[in-house]
């Protein structure tokens, strides 16, 4: 009896011991995760064989020599290479002699053990299917546009005409059959157009008034339509040019959620006349590491790699590939207009959103201003120039103060400093 109890308690003890061990192992792994993310994840992927700056660590324990080699390597790889360790020198040469950080003094052996435990613990696989479906449903359904109302009206008119002509022929044939039975002379078959003409000549005044009204409406809308020629923005619907770009790039994701500043990609906006479309190397500053997007997965990001010959598996570039992305220009000014971004942004201190709208909420970039001359001039008339503490205007500000000395409530708008001169923009 006693013996039995003893056996059970021993079993329980063993079980307890193992469970504590496992628990501590998990705790260890969690701790290791933190340590790994802080110290190693910048260059290594823990559970894949994805090459980034350093090799991926999937199956690393099968590759490296057994024992405490890996601990030694992590703590001071330089020392290990210098000691002439065969495997150390081999991998040092294999990865292009790119030195790994020396962690001596930062990580002790316990930390390294925790990190190794984390690498050993495979990550919990979140069911990919559920993730996919949610991504699919969030995809915007773009083909829900109904039929154009103009076509509906036209179709209605065509149906009416057909109905009218068939009814007319029915009426004529009925009348004729009636006439035949009564012995009256039959009505000669008339064409539809002849009848219409007869009606029109019978109601000349009505037709005249109607035609004049229609033509006035037509000319007015023609006049209005002419104003829209060459303008990529519709005042009425507040909708602008919004072309589909070669990559489904979302400003909402990049500038909105990730809070990347506009100038990070459009970096020439403060230095040049053009805001600049980023070349692919700027995409790669992040997308070398971020290879999967939240909505389209790898599909859209792969287009960046196709443009510059980057191989995400090996993290190397093929220098022979140069296929620049052909972005479609949205905000387009004619050749005879000069516009300078740096002048407006640096000196004028105009926010990007003033002309481009809130791109932080646009998944597809859209023109949000008409960019007509009227629009430019309206803004130049009402915008006051920030002159206080703006070194660019120091001299001009002094001169203007003298010129308008004693005048009450004078506003130094862009117009006042020559912003409406023809030669400012057209030369």
């Amino acid at each position: 009896m006693n013996n039995q109890v003893g056996q059970i308690s021993i079993k329980a003890l063993i079980a307890l011991f193992f469970s504590v061990l496992i628990c501590s192992n998990i705790l260890n792994a969690q701790d290791g995760e933190k340590l790994f993310k802080q110290n190693c994840a910048v260059c290594h992927s823990a559970h894949t064989d994805q090459m980034s700056t350093g090799p991926g660590l999937k199956g690393v324990f099968d590759r490296v020599p057994k024992g405490d080699w890996i601990t030694k390597w992590i703590i001071n790889n330089e020392k290990l290479i210098k000691s002439g360790d065969a495997y150390a020198t081999k991998i040092y040469a294999q990865y292009g002699k790119a030195a790994m950080t020396v962690f001596e003094g930062q990580l002790n052996e316990k930390d390294v053990e925790a990190i190794l435990n984390y690498i050993k613990t495979p990550p919990v696989v979140v069911s990919a299917a559920s993730g996919n479906t949610s991504a699919d449903t969030s995809e915007p359904s773009e083909k829900t546009n109904g039929i154009d109302p103009l076509f509906l009206i036209l179709g209605f008119i065509v149906v009416l005409i057909i109905l009218l002509s068939s009814l007319r022929s029915v009426r004529t044939s009925l009348q004729n059959s009636n006439n035949r039975s009564e012995g009256i002379e039959e009505i000669p078959e008339q064409t539809f157009w002849k009848e219409v003409k007869a009606w029109l000549s019978g109601h000349r005044r009505l037709v005249g008034v109607f035609v004049i009204i229609i033509s006035f409406i037509g000319m007015k809308s023609c006049w209005d339509a002419c104003y829209n020629i060459g303008v990529y923005y519709d005042y009425k619907t507040q909708k602008g040019y919004k072309p589909e770009q070669p990559i489904k790039f979302s400003h909402k994701l990049h500038a909105g959620e990730n809070e990347i500043a506009c100038q990070y990609c459009h970096s020439s906006v403060e230095k040049s006349r053009h805001a600049g479309i980023p070349s692919v190397n700027i995409c790669m500053n992040c997308h070398k590491a971020i290879q999967k997007g939240p909505q389209y997965g790898e599909k859209e990001i792969a287009k960046i790699y196709a443009a510059n010959g980057f191989d995400p598996k090996t993290a190397t570039y093929d220098n022979n590939i140069q296929n620049p992305l052909k972005w479609i220009k949205i905000h387009n000014l004619p050749d005879h207009v000069y516009f300078n971004h740096s002048q407006h942004v640096v000196v004028g201190k105009i926010e990007c959103t003033t002309c481009h709208g809130n791109l932080k909420e646009m998944t597809v970039a859209e023109q949000k201003a008409p960019l007509t001359m009227k629009w430019c001039i309206e803004c130049h008339r009402k915008t006051e120039v920030v002159m206080e503490g703006n070194a660019y205007y120091d001299r001009l500000h002094k001169a203007l103060k003298e010129k308008y000395a004693g005048v009450q409530d004078v506003k130094f708008t862009v117009e006042k400093i020559g912003g409406l001169e023809c030669g400012k923009c057209h030369y």
Binding site: I214, G230, I290, D335
Partner: protein
């Protein structure tokens, strides 16, 4: 009588044309993929060589967004003597120093550096350089904190890292001039805080 008919015909024709034009222009506007009707398209799509456009010259396709011809030097270009190798990195850490005059207006440089930092670095490195920016959560690992593992990183290495990139970070040389990079170095040094003396002779100055 005939004259009367003629005027009717004329007004009728005019209104028809007007309606057609309205129809055309409104149809063009509905499609967001199309810029609509253009008056004199050759003024919008110029025959002269414009930035970021494809041109065909003598049967050869020229694309303006390609790498510059080898040997070409950009205006304002300053050479950088340290190569993008581990040795170059170490050498830059020892020999490269900030050429901007820090005694006179270090605070001004730091202020300008802060503005640059908020545009070019903050989304990964975070507001205080702790590696907690919005993008860093999506990276395989966050960037190390300036006030932590990078506390004693010398200015030459900071500059070298901005120029060529380091680890996950890419090169920012195309976005920032050398002067701007040095201003950033001042601000990064401000975030690093005062340097701590190494506790033991082995290198704590990490190279990540």
């Amino acid at each position: 009588m005939k004259k009367y008919y003629k005027t009717i015909k004329l007004t009728y024709a005019i209104s028809c044309v007007a309606l057609l034009m309205v129809g055309f222009s409104s149809c063009g506007k509905k499609d967001e993929n199309s810029p609509g009707v253009e008056f004199m398209p050759d003024m919008y799509r110029s025959p002269s060589l414009e930035y970021y456009s494809v041109h065909t010259v003598d049967g050869d396709t020229l694309n303006n967004a390609m790498k510059p011809v080898s040997g070409s030097v950009a205006r304002g270009y300053l050479p950088y003597a340290y190569p993008n190798t581990p040795e170059g990195y170490e050498k830059a850490g020892l020999d490269l120093h900030n050429p901007l005059n820090s005694e006179l207006n270090r605070a001004d440089f730091e202020k300008e550096g802060e503005i640059l930092f908020s545009k070019f670095c903050i989304h990964c490195h975070g507001e205080a350089g702790a590696g907690d920016g919005k993008v860093s959560a999506k990276l395989p690992g966050p960037p190390p904190a300036y006030d932590g593992p990078l506390k004693n990183l010398p200015e030459g290495k900071i500059f070298h890292s901005i120029t060529y990139g380091k680890g996950t970070m890419g090169s920012h040389a195309s976005q920032l001039t050398q002067e701007e990079r040095w201003k950033l170095v001042y601000y990064v040094q401000k975030l690093q805080g005062p340097k701590i003396a190494p506790t033991d002779s082995s290198k704590i100055v990490t190279s990540r």
